[in-house]
Symmetry: C2
Subunit: 419 residues, 2 copies
């Protein structure tokens, strides 16, 4: 039995509601770190606007009520049972979260921030925007509150399914790794692939540079850990400016945020989620790039790794990925495309490297091998050597002579000099 | 219904029978190439002594009768139906085989050969000998007629189960490949492993050299494609003499046999069969070493490969094995031992590379990361930056100071210089 039809709720118009949600998401990107599970949980449960209201309201009871009945991750667990007089561990955690959000909210002048940000040409992307890529939804509980973006390209277009690949690796890379990142980046961009990386020194920078070198290529996207107002690291400013000018920079962090280790680690999940495959070009045993590979793995995105000399510590992480974590060994752009498209294996390059030796029958090949390298042999001795009938040997020798591989003189045969 | 019991056949004594079989196997090693499927089939069906008698007898009918009822491989098929007047293709093949064996038999002075061979210190190993390794039985239809051996070590002892590893690779190797083969060979021999290879230039030689450098190690075995009377290649004579003097050389080929391409390829099956695992150290896209890996695969022996720079053509075959053929990526001797023993994975070397940073809790680590690299921060700003409660930050800073990672001054904190 249904009750009488309700009139549509009277409220802000759809556009205004959108604007309010955008403002709330912008605020949350200031209040909560990317790793703040409680913030993600609250916003996903009640929506960003209502969540922000609850913070403004400031009463833990409101938060606890909003989260009642929600399946809580460990770190916010017990909160639902914390409504009594003696605060439980969970309730205390909710209070702590509220306190930290309120501390940041008190320091936030959102209008001024949004104004400064807009003047820098930085826009905020939120779910539902045409530029918001569906791929980010795979992050589930850690979908970013929003992404700050700068640059002329559309994020959704750059990372359309099957179009984007992450090339990541160590900052402390070798010239070999740098060359590989740059040439892979260039070759992939040439084939219309958007090369996604983290804008760091070393492998990241080389991958971006390679992609930038392909003038009408797939482009390149740098996903930064800090705010887009101060490009980091400093030494890559010009590179990142070029990416911003021609393609796109994005960050989960609002302007004014300095990059820190946990923000780098959280950022890696975005790189993994935005791309169809993650390829680690060079990584030491404990490189942060391995965390991107792990995120890709968690998201069921394929992982590739470029091998290097086993004597190079800078490749130890790649070897570890291939050996112990099922990463696919990658040697060229075709291997990467195969990873992304899961399509048929790249054509066997060996098949192209064919010479007349490949045209020989096994028998002809055997007779050729039986001819001594630098002297004449009689057909009879050759037959004995090859354990073949004399007629078979004679026929093979005739074919070899035709192919220019042997010379005969009466009953004797000699190898022809290869041109 | 069985007929009356037959008296035991009157014949040579057991010892004499053994001697006769040994002579027959020696003869067959002269008559038939390692790849001669018809010879293997005949000898396995009627035994080497009777098979040799049939060749001496010279009548194809005798051979066909001996092979009647045997399941024939393609190349000898139809032979059983070839008893009629019009010879079938199979019967013709048997005739061809008989003709080639007879041609070699006519040229063979077995007594003189055996005499010369014995005077060179070369012995013949046949199935049933204490030195014959069971592992060779896995070759089934291509078990060698015998193996010629020279050197003080027992073949069966050298390649006892779990004790032998094949290290193979390209002749045209790089200094990197040579270093790897030598150091792996040395490290394996040091751990009691016998390093088996083919005595060729490049990777093979480096593997033998590495193993020889371990004075009380597992030793090294060279499996050659030609006769043991003329060590090949010439440039490795001194190396192979050292192997012969201290360990062992073996070959399927009798004295006087020059190595040819098909003999090298047939030899590779022996290297794969004699060892618990085959590791390809460096191999180009079409290296013969890949055939050893394929034989190992066919015999269900594990295959490993050492990666190298993808810019090096000399490693392309190794990368192909890892990428497309399920070879295990090998970076050190421990990986190889794991391959052979199928045991627990080698200890994680990363676990040993631990410093005080690993001792930090995630929270301490977060606070440390939040301290700016080169300036003082107030505890309050640090709490805001890290999105943590001020008390939590103060406690973390105290622990960091204790570990020598931070310095405080009143309410301010700074990173400590790392020693």
């Amino acid at each position: 039995m249904s009750g009488p039809a309700q009139p549509p709720a009277v409220g802000p118009s759809r556009a205004a509601e959108g604007a309010e949600a955008r403002r709330a998401r912008a605020a949350w990107s200031h209040l909560a770190e990317p790793t703040d599970a409680a913030a993600h949980l609250l916003c996903r449960t009640v929506g960003h606007v209502a969540a922000l209201e609850l913070v403004r309201d400031g009463r833990p009871r409101g938060l606890l009520a909003a989260l009642a009945g929600v399946e809580l991750p460990t770190e916010v667990a017990d909160a639902a049972s914390g409504g009594g007089h003696v605060p439980s561990a969970g309730a205390r955690r909710v209070e702590t979260a509220l306190a930290r959000w309120r501390a940041r909210l008190a320091a936030l002048d959102l209008d001024a921030e949004l104004d400064r940000t807009a003047r820098r040409g930085i826009r905020l992307l939120i779910p539902g925007d045409p530029e918001w890529p569906d791929a980010l939804d795979d992050l589930g509980d850690t979908i970013p509150h929003g992404l700050w973006a700068a640059g002329p390209r559309s994020l959704a277009a750059l990372v359309a399914p099957g179009r984007a690949v992450a090339l990541v690796g160590s900052r402390a890379c070798t010239p070999y790794g740098e060359d590989m990142a740059c040439s892979l980046g260039g070759a992939l961009a040439d084939r219309g692939v958007c090369v996604v990386s983290g804008g760091a020194y070393g492998i990241d920078a080389a991958a971006h540079r390679g992609a930038l070198s392909a003038p009408d290529g797939g482009g390149t996207l740098a996903v930064l850990a800090g705010g887009l107002d101060a490009l980091y690291p400093r030494g890559n400013t010009r590179l990142l400016e070029a990416v911003r000018e021609r393609h796109l920079l994005v960050s989960e962090a609002p302007c004014g945020t300095t990059p820190t280790r946990w923000r780098f680690l959280a950022r890696n999940r975005l790189i993994a989620a935005l791309t169809g495959a993650t390829v680690v070009v060079e990584a030491s045993w404990r490189s942060g790039a391995l965390s991107t590979a792990r995120h890709a793995d968690d998201l069921s995105r394929p992982v590739g790794a470029v091998p290097g000399p086993v004597t190079s510590a800078a490749s130890a992480g790649c070897h570890r990925l291939i050996r112990d974590r099922g990463a696919v060994l990658v040697t060229e752009a075709a291997d990467v495309l195969e990873l992304v498209h899961g399509g048929p294996p790249a054509a066997d390059p060996g098949a192209a490297r064919q010479d007349e030796l490949d045209l020989l029958t096994p028998l002809d090949r055997r007779v050729l091998d039986g001819i001594p390298p630098r002297s004449w042999a009689s057909l009879a001795s050759l037959a004995l050597e090859c354990a073949l009938a004399p007629e078979a040997v004679a026929a093979a020798v005739a074919r070899l002579e035709l192919l220019g591989l042997a010379r005969t003189s009466g009953e004797r045969v000699q190898r022809a000099r290869r041109p």
